[in-house]
Structures are given as structure tokens and as C-alpha cells.
Symmetry: D5
Subunit: 99 residues, 10 copies
């Protein structure tokens, strides 16, 4: 089940560089673990912004919330979640693509 | 080069059913042609709305504009385009994924 | 799996009364069928508005989209969907309520 | 008498962890006391956000304001209150459900 | 129990004058009946707008919704309702005014 | 001459409790003096918010600005002022109520 | 007593040219009568928009509302009114300019 | 050439009183110099807000930007600039007033 | 003197094709005449939208308003104008580029 | 390939003057290097604001993001990017200008 998530990072500009590097490194590791597990199949940088569009693939809203609230950067994120469904014109949709 | 596009369809509720069916059918055919050509690699319905999130893969802004303005539903669409770049944590990014 | 939905009805004031009565009656029947099936466990009128807050209980985003896009009033609705998760302080939550 | 409340928590990220833990614990206790008393019959986490949708059941606006302004997190909350009424299609509504 | 209501009237400029006069007259009569009954204790025109601020005094959200949805202009109104409580500095508040 | 004013209080959560108590006490005293003088005939708490709706009765915009900018909490307030006029359906309006 | 007013004209593009010319001519005459009477001391076009900023000088909110609601274009206007007071740095202010 | 400017002052409430008094005094002196030079012909306080509407009369956008960015309060201001043109109904407009 | 203008075209989808073609052709001719005269030095399509960003080079706000309000599409445009000044880092600015 | 970028600078007013001067000097040098390389062909100050409109000319979204995220002021910027395409009425467009 897919969800579209926009994440805007609001790290304070005066955060100590070491603290900043440490939290960003943990975020990267966490993100890559979920990507490799198939939970986070797409991750794109929004050009010109410290922000991304992501696609999550989870079993439930519960799993989605756990994945997102576990992000090391979570206290600094503005998150907006949109549930996705199959589009009737999607050529790759399981049952409908031949349309 | 990837672009994120949100499309909200504003078909007037009182459109004649035949006209509506005809334009929706043309939209579907147009969309599937671009999907098969690789120009429109992702297309998701936003749950509960007559709207979608799409990813386009084009050579230039010019090609993107031509693809979008050629949509049969274009006069009825609210479109919002966001240019995408590689995310430094993306495990599938060409040169950086091993990070 | 629960979703919070806000629905604002935008019926044109000059809709013919018979047409209006017919579509509202079909909406009511559709809504009550889903309520009785357990798919639509809560439905509240927003005081002073032709709008409601609803809770849906579905297996997937797919099922949610089908339920919402099947509403007889769907062409006249502004819908906003928010996925819900268990709150850690909810006394009725399956595994956590004793906290 | 039911009210719909959205609560967004704005705890500063640099709050001392002990102070944060203490206030969150008090909030939890306060919330669960009101839930058990029937004043706060529903409480849902908004997936991906430090926010919730709640339903309150009170005798008056006065009681509602006292319940909300007494929340230990009140100084850190953005609150939005919406009064609710019975929906004419609600199958569980006292006098109308047979419709 | 008091509620603050903002009403913006959106009558289409091309409404037939007779129809307009008739609905406005019915609105006036309805409004004055509720004012005389004590349900609608304050009604002010917003200077320069076809809009008003009103205070309603009702027993419940249910009664408020019935009063508002019965307005002859209801299909043409944008309504926004805000529940009110006693202000701790109000010199006329029943139990607190001596403060 | 009546004005409608919405006041949202933005006191920083980390204000020292003694300083907070002192400024709130001065605000209360100032407010009650204006209420008793007839300048501030209505004052309502917005349920669930540190905010109020107020009605001021003054001779001029000048007097209104002096009353508002003299509020002890003024540096912490978001204020929005709306001039009011007699509503043609107001049963208590001096010359029109018999309508 | 001064008020700042923004007026945005929303004449439908398909209004019959004769009807449009007639209402615009009446608006012009009405406006110039108030300008000559001193009620409407400033009137500026917003560059590139069918809109203006105006200053009104009236005795009361009542007089302001009558002046605005009498505009021939009133049913087609979005109006926003802001009450003005003397600025303490205004060199032309009656009692303060020497500061 | 006239420009309409709205200025909202965002001085932090915890600014040291001496520093605040000094910057406000410099702002006043700067403003009055431009008023006397004819560059700043109108300056009005917005009732109930630490904000003003101003009219500037300059030779060019360049001169306008220099005047505004030289304001002692500039780092604390939200500024919004709107270019103005002669209104065709303005009775004082050089060539059109006889209309 | 430069101005930045955003233009969003709101042609009704049901406009007769001949009328649409005629007005768009007149708009094109008008635009190209101003471009060749140096009044409209830049004109860019916003990708995916029936909208453009434009730069105008005029002697005054008056000339700008005349240029814009003379656009054949003017009744169907949402226009937003922003005055521009020389940027201190602009390498092509007349007096400052060597900086 | 052209992109329109709006940049709003949010430097905290209490930044140490030396630090402020240093970062602004680096921003200027960085900007002028990109201007001279042809990557940043236009840069305009928005009159009355610490903000600019810019045009970037790059080979890809990737190059755009690198150029923008490398700005010394990047942590203090609100950036909004809009992809541009050739306008069909542009007299300077490569293939269409003769139109």
C-alpha cells in the first residue's frame, strides 16, 4: 500500500556543525535501511530546497507512522502524508493495465 | 530528468456524459502512450480525489511542457510542476548509492 | 485501518429540486449501507455547514478510494483524507491501553 | 454534545529531555483520566505528524474550554475546535436512524 | 451557551430581482423571529461587505445547527462557527466578575 | 461606534512565571477598567484557544487605536479589527427595528 | 475619520457591453460625487489590475457602509476595509507633527 | 510616480528598551525627513496594529528601493509594495478629471 | 524601469473555438508589437501551465498599466506586478558591476 | 534550459555584523562567478524586500540543485523554483519568432 510523503527539513541554521553532521548521518543510515527493505521505494530531492518527495510501501497506517516517527530528523520535519491508490490508466496496474 | 506533477481534474459536473466519456477516453490513451514510451514512469491516484501525482522523465522543460499541454484534459486541469534531483541518500542513485 | 475524511458538499443552489432530492436520497442510502457494513463507523455533521467529518475503516487505500469515489455526491464533494494511527495514550488501543 | 478538536504539538526541539518526558507523562495521565470519564471518547494519532484528531463529549462550551485549557501541553498546542451535530444519515442517531 | 458566527452572503449578481427580494424578506423575518426569541442576541453588519457577525445563544450544537441550516439564505451562505466561553476578565461573568 | 476585534495572545511558553503573572494581572485590570467605562462592552473567550472576540464602542478610530495599543499584552497580541455597522434586520437598531 | 479600502472589481467577462458601459458610467458619476463632497479624498488604480486603493473620510462606520454599499458596482466588488489612525511620525498630524 | 506600501513592524518583544527607543527614534527622524522632502506624502497607522499604510512618490523603482531599504527598522519590517496609476475616475487626475 | 509580471490565463473551457482563436491571435500580435518596441523584453511560458512570467521595461507605472490593461486577454487574466530594482551583485548593473 | 527562482533572505536581525558581512561577501562572489559563467543570466532585486527574482540557465535539474544548494546563504533562504519553457509568442524564440 503506497503513501506519498513530502518532507521539509527545518534544521536551525545555528545548530552546532558536529551535532548536525551526526543527525544527518543517522538519518541517512535509517533511510537507506528502509530503502533496502522495500519500505521506502522512492526518494527524490526537490530541486533548490532542503526537502524531498518520498513514496512509502507499507502494510498499514500504523507501520507508516512508525517508519516516519522513527526518523532521526523527525523533530525537525514538516511532514505531509497522502494515501495513494491505483490509477485506472496505469499501464502497470495489476488488473487493469491492459485497458 | 525527473519532474513531479500534481494534476487536479476540474471537469464541470454538468458536462454531457458522452462528451465526458470521450475526453476521458482520449486522456487515457494519451497517458498510456506516454507511459509506454517511458516519458511518464509513475502515475498514482490520490485516494478520495479526482487527482493524481505523476513523475515525468524528459530531456528538457520544453519536452515537459509539450507533454503536459498536449493532455486532452489540459483545459480542465490544475497542474503544479516540481523539478526533482537525485537525493544524496538514494540507494539507487547512479554514483552515490554506495554511500 | 482508519481514515479521517472531511467532506464539503458543493451542490449548485440552482439545481432542480427533484434532481437534488434524488441524488441526496441515493447518497443517504449509499452512506447507510457502508455504515451498516462497518466501513463508515462515524459520521458527524459540522454545525452550520453542509459538510461532515467521517471516519472510515478499510483494509487498504484502494478500498477507501473505491468507497469515496462511489459516493453519489462525489462530483460535488471537496474531500480531504487523513490516515490515522493508534495514539499512544488511547486507553482503548489494543496493546497499549494499560500504559 | 460533541466537538471535533485537532491538536498540533509544537514542542521546541531543544527542550531538555527530562522536562519533555515529564510534561508528556502528565499529558498522558490527564488525557487518560478524561478518556475514562467519557469526556474524550476518541483520540487518534495523525499518521506522520505529532498531532491528533480528538472527539470531546461535554455539557457545554465552558466544560470544553476547561478540559482543553487544562491540558499540560496547552501552551505548546495549536488547537482548532469544530462543533458537531447529528448527521441526518447517521444510522446510530437517536431519533433518525431508521431513515 | 454562546456561539460566534460569521456569515458571508454569496447571492449571484444575476439573480432575478423579485426572487432576490423574496428570499431577503424571508431571511429578515426568520432572523427577527430568532432575535425576539433570544436565540440570536447580536447581529452586526460588517462595514462594506454583504456579511455579518452574529452571536447565537442556544442549548446545544444541535439547536445551533437547526437554527443556521433553516436560514432561507443558507444555500448562499459561507458560515463559520466558533464556540465561545466565559472570559476570566469579563466583569459581567456570573461567578467571576468581582475579580 | 462599534468595532469587532479578535485578539490572539502569543506569550512565549518560556516566559518567567512571575513576569507572566504580572503582565496578565495588569491586562485584566486594564480590560476591566475599559469594560466598566463602556468602551469594551463584550469580551468572549474562544473555546480552546488563548484568544478572544471583543466588541469595542468608541467615538473614533483614534480612540480605538489608543485603547488597543495601550493593552499591557499589546506586544504579544495578533489583533484584527473589523468596523461594524447597524444590520438592517436588527430588531434593536434605533430607527429600523420595527421593520 | 479615515478608512483604507481595497476594491477588486469582478465583472463577468461575458457581461453585455451596453450593460457594462452603463454600470461603469454610473459608478464613475457616483464616485466623483463623493470625491467632490470630500468623502472619498483619494482614489488610485492598482497598476495592472481592475482594482483600486481608496481612502474614505467619514463621520462613522455607518456613513462608510452606506457610501460603499451604494456603489453601483457593489454586487461585483470584493471590498476590504481597514480603519486608520494618526501615525505618531506624521508631520501633518494635527497635534503631533512638530515632534 | 506613486507606490502604496504596507509596513508591518516585527520588533521582538524582548528587545532591550533602550535599543528599542533608539531605533524607533531614528526611524521617526528618517521618516519625517522623507515626508518633508515630498517622497513620503502619506503615512497612516493601521488601527490596532503596529503597522502602517504609506504612499511614496519617487522617480523610479530604484529610488523607492533605496528609500525603503534605508529605513532604520528595515531588518524588522514586512514590506509589501504595490505600484499605483491614475484612476480614470479621479477628479484630481491631471488630464482626466473633467470626465 | 523594470517590472516583473506573472500572468495566469483563465479562458473558460467552453469558449467558442473561433472566438478563442481570434482573441489569442490578437494577444499574440499585441505582445509581439510590445516586444519589438522594447517594452516587453522577456516572456517565458511557465512549464505545464497556461501562464507566463514577463519582464516589462517602461518609463512609469502609468505606462505599465496602459500596456497591461490593453492586453486583448486582460478580462481573462490574473495579473501580479512586482517592481524591480538593480541587484547590488548584478555584474551587468551600470555602476556597480565591477564590485 | 531556464528556471525562474525567487529567493527570500531570512537572516536573523541579531546576527553578528562581522558574520553577516562575511557571508554576504561570499554570496556576492559566488553569485558573480555564476553570472559570468552564464549559469545565472538575470538577477533582480524585488523593490522594498531583501529578496530577488533570478533566472538560471542549466543543463539539468541536477545542475540547478547544485548551483542553488551551494549558495553561501542557502541555510537562510526561502527558495521557490519554477521551470520555464519557450513562449509561443516570444519574438526571440529560436524557431517560432517569425510567427
Amino acid at each position: 500500500m503506497l503513501f506519498h510523503v513530502r518532507m521539509d527539513v527545518r534544521l536551525p541554521p545555528d545548530l552546532a556543525p558536529a551535532e548536525r553532521a551526526e543527525i544527518v548521518a543517522r538519518e541517512r543510515e535509517y533511510s537507506q535501511r528502509l530503502q533496502r527493505a522495500g519500505t521506502w521505494p522512492h526518494l527524490w530531492r526537490i530541486a533548490g530546497q532542503y526537502a524531498n518527495f518520498s513514496i512509502f510501501d507499507v502494510e498499514s497506517n500504523e507501520e507508516l507512522h512508525n517508519a516516519l516517527s522513527g526518523l532521526p530528523l523527525f523533530p525537525y520535519l514538516d511532514l505531509h502524508v497522502t494515501p495513494l491508490a491505483t490509477h485506472p490508466s496505469d499501464v502497470n496496474a495489476p488488473l487493469r493495465g491492459s485497458g
